[in-house]
């Protein structure tokens, strides 16, 4: 045997390996750097009521819907209270609640409030139980992309039929009946849902289950319940899918709609466009779950409302904290942070960066009273 005369391979392989390694290293390094950017500097001035004496470190985990708002709140709060460091990790609502209950996080952000079972369970950091404080409200829009259609009116039953695959074309009589004067094509409907678990899905499915129970038989849940339609990862994935196809419709946070047209939803006898005011009104009119601590704001939006001032597909995300912390030093910082987050300024800051709906003055007053009393 003799060696092959076309002798490039080994050297060749080594060189390309070196290039590969270098690239990988560069990518790894750059991603490190972007993670390390501290949200400490550059505040927006109008921040948190400064007491100046606070210090300590908080770790929060949970809802990714709150992610942008939390980043802004933390930035503002740390600017006003230089002795405080807060980290928020948007790992998802479920993981956030679990971490908070087991003591891994001092507070959690969650798109669903603590379940009855969770409230009865133990909270490692609390004397007593954990409570829900609404801090982030957002209307969920039904955005669509159908060639030639710029406005669309839908009611709950029709939405339920579209997302459960019972209506398959845009010129279906049920859709036509709601949209007189609009010429609807015979294009197939491609309903897009979240393929990951999501509070957005939970709110839409809860709305459909309560308003159209004969069509939408599954209870509200984080995971999309039916094997129909198209799945996409995250809000940005759903937006990309809607934009990428003709005949698509999907549900997304209203702040992420961009240039896509949005369906009006039938409430009572009128059609309502998703708006911050409608979401705030729905949150204020919601009922607080019974059988809980008086300071626990586990708000259920009234999905079957007939008041056209309210937009019923509204997500209420909560700050989950202890009413009383075992360590009073933590309680003091959490109280100050929660007070800022739920204040008029905090809500305005979130609306600016994340496009959420600021809570109404009446709700703010109620929540603030509890936030200030955290020990």
């Amino acid at each position: 045997m003799h060696t092959p005369s076309k002798g490039i391979p080994l050297k060749h392989l080594r060189a390309s390996l070196a290039i590969g390694t270098a690239l990988t290293a560069m990518i790894a390094l750059s991603s490190c750097a972007s993670n390390e950017s501290t949200p400490a500097a550059s505040g927006s001035g109008s921040a948190a009521s400064s007491t100046g004496t606070l210090s300590g470190q908080l770790n929060g985990q949970g809802s990714s819907a709150q992610g942008n708002a939390q980043t802004q709140w933390i930035k503002d709060f740390q600017t006003a209270n230089s002795g405080v460091t807060i980290n928020y990790n948007p790992v998802g609502s479920g993981a956030g609640r679990t971490a908070f209950e087991s003591g891994g996080a001092q507070y959690a952000g969650s798109d669903t409030y603590l379940s009855d079972a969770e409230v009865k369970g133990t909270f490692a950091l609390c004397n007593g139980q954990g409570i829900d404080l609404p801090d982030y409200i957002s209307p969920i829009a039904l955005a669509f992309n159908v060639k030639g259609v710029t406005a669309l009116k839908l009611d709950a039953t029709t939405i339920a039929k579209i997302f459960s695959g019972k209506i398959t074309t845009w010129n279906d009589p049920a859709i036509k009946a709601l949209n007189s004067g609009v010429s609807l094509p015979s294009t197939k409907i491609d309903p897009v849902h979240r393929s990951d678990k999501s509070g957005t899905t939970h709110n839409l499915t809860d709305y459909l289950n309560k308003t159209a129970p004969s069509v939408w038989t599954a209870a509200g849940a984080d995971a999309f319940p039916f094997k129909t339609g198209e799945g996409a990862q995250g809000t940005s994935g759903v937006v990309a899918a809607i934009k990428g196809g003709n005949g698509t419709i999907g549900y997304i946070d209203n702040s992420q709609v961009g240039s896509l047209p949005v369906a009006q939803i039938k409430v009572g006898s009128t059609y309502v466009t998703p708006s911050a005011d409608g979401a705030a009104a729905a949150a204020e009119a919601g009922t607080v779950a019974s059988g809980r601590d008086a300071s626990d704001f586990a708000i259920d939006v009234n999905r079957t409302t007939t008041d056209s001032k309210q937009y019923p597909i509204t997500l209420i995300s909560n700050l989950i904290v202890c009413k009383q912390y075992k360590d009073p030093a933590i309680g003091k910082v959490v109280s100050a942070y929660a007070t800022y987050v739920t204040s008029t300024e905090g809500q305005a800051a979130a609306a600016k960066v994340a496009g959420s709906a600021p809570m109404s003055a009446a709700l703010i007053a109620k929540v603030q009273a509890v936030a200030k009393a955290i020990k």
Partner: protein
């Protein structure tokens, strides 16, 4: 490749052992053991966390599933299905590229092409995912409509065609691009090892270049090709991010490749469901991870078996 370097020393001569030998054999042993320990630790973790999932109740599983096996079955199918489709696309392409580089291209072209193919391996999977969802899916959608309309009688292409192109076929194309550099690089190396004498002998018998490749290069490289394909398969089975981003997933068994309801893979399903899972649903996901672990083992074992069998007969 087959004989291990640590052969017992000859009986007659007394072995000379210098410090370097001791240090080297010690570190080599430690490296070997470390990988076994790491593997064992992963296995212990997976098994330990999976046990609660086996007796999971219907209420803790996603809607529509009553037992763990019922949930895991379609995921196993999806994992293998997507990987197989990817290989169907990637293997012929890779063999073609490898043969072109080793036996057809002028040396300068071959070198450049080799670099480019190897660079494909350095692209992170998130970039492939973004490319798949923003460029490839919208681009292939009209072709899917075409296939569905005119070739709908082929079972794979029937069903209701996706409006966005985010189907298992698109995922297979993305995966194929990702495994292509691995298979190509290995096959190229193997083909270049073909004994020159055998090639010359084939030419001497009057073979054309293609006939020479068929009777000397391919039989010689058979074992290498199989192990290259198996390495590619391993990569395709475990790929997570690109699948999670591109696929429109459902936990179903379906052979349609153009619809919105596509069987999803274990890895992508874990990535999508894990962040908002808690309690026993986390155990369920980890248990599916254990299943993936087992599948990869089986694939590797099969590959070893095939390689050892084909390499025995290769010089007949």
């Amino acid at each position: 490749m087959t004989s291990s370097p640590a052969v017992a020393p000859p009986v007659s001569a007394k072995p000379v052992r210098r410090p370097g030998d001791l240090i080297f054999s010690g570190t080599a042993l430690a490296a070997g053991l470390l990988i076994l320990v790491a593997l064992a630790a992963v296995a212990v973790f997976l098994v330990g966390e999976s046990i609660p999932a086996l007796g999971v109740k219907k209420a803790d599983l996603p809607v529509g599933f009553s037992t763990f096996l019922e949930y895991a079955g379609p995921l196993v199918f999806g994992t293998v299905w997507a990987a197989l489709l990817a290989l169907v696309i990637a293997v012929p392409l890779s063999l073609g590229i490898a043969l072109f580089i080793s036996h057809y291209a002028p040396r300068r072209v071959a070198r450049g092409l080799g670099y480019v193919i190897d660079l494909l391996a350095a692209v992170p999977s998130v970039v492939y995912g973004l490319w798949g969802i923003t460029v490839l899916a919208p681009f292939v959608q009209p072709f899917y409509t075409f296939l569905n309309t005119y070739l709908g009688w082929v079972p794979f292409f029937s069903g209701s065609v996706s409006a966005t192109g985010r189907t298992v076929l698109t995922v297979a194309v993305v995966l194929a691009v990702m495994v292509l550099p691995i298979i190509t690089a290995l096959c190229r190396e193997v083909f270049l090892q073909t004994p020159r004498l055998q090639e010359e002998a084939a030419y001497a018998l009057g073979a054309t270049r293609w006939e020479m490749i068929r009777i000397s290069v391919l039989p010689f490289g058979r074992a290498g090709i199989v192990s290259a394909v198996m390495l590619g398969l391993g990569r395709a089975l475990g790929e997570t991010l690109a699948v999670a981003m591109v696929l429109s997933p459902a936990v179903v068994v379906s052979f349609f490749v153009l619809t919105t309801q596509n069987p999803t893979t274990i890895a992508a399903n874990i990535a999508l469901q894990f962040p908002d899972s808690y309690g026993i649903s986390v155990n369920v996901l980890i248990a599916t991870g254990l299943v993936l672990f087992v599948i990869t083992f089986v694939v590797n074992a099969l590959a070893r078996g095939i390689v050892s069998r084909t390499s025995v007969g290769r010089n007949n």
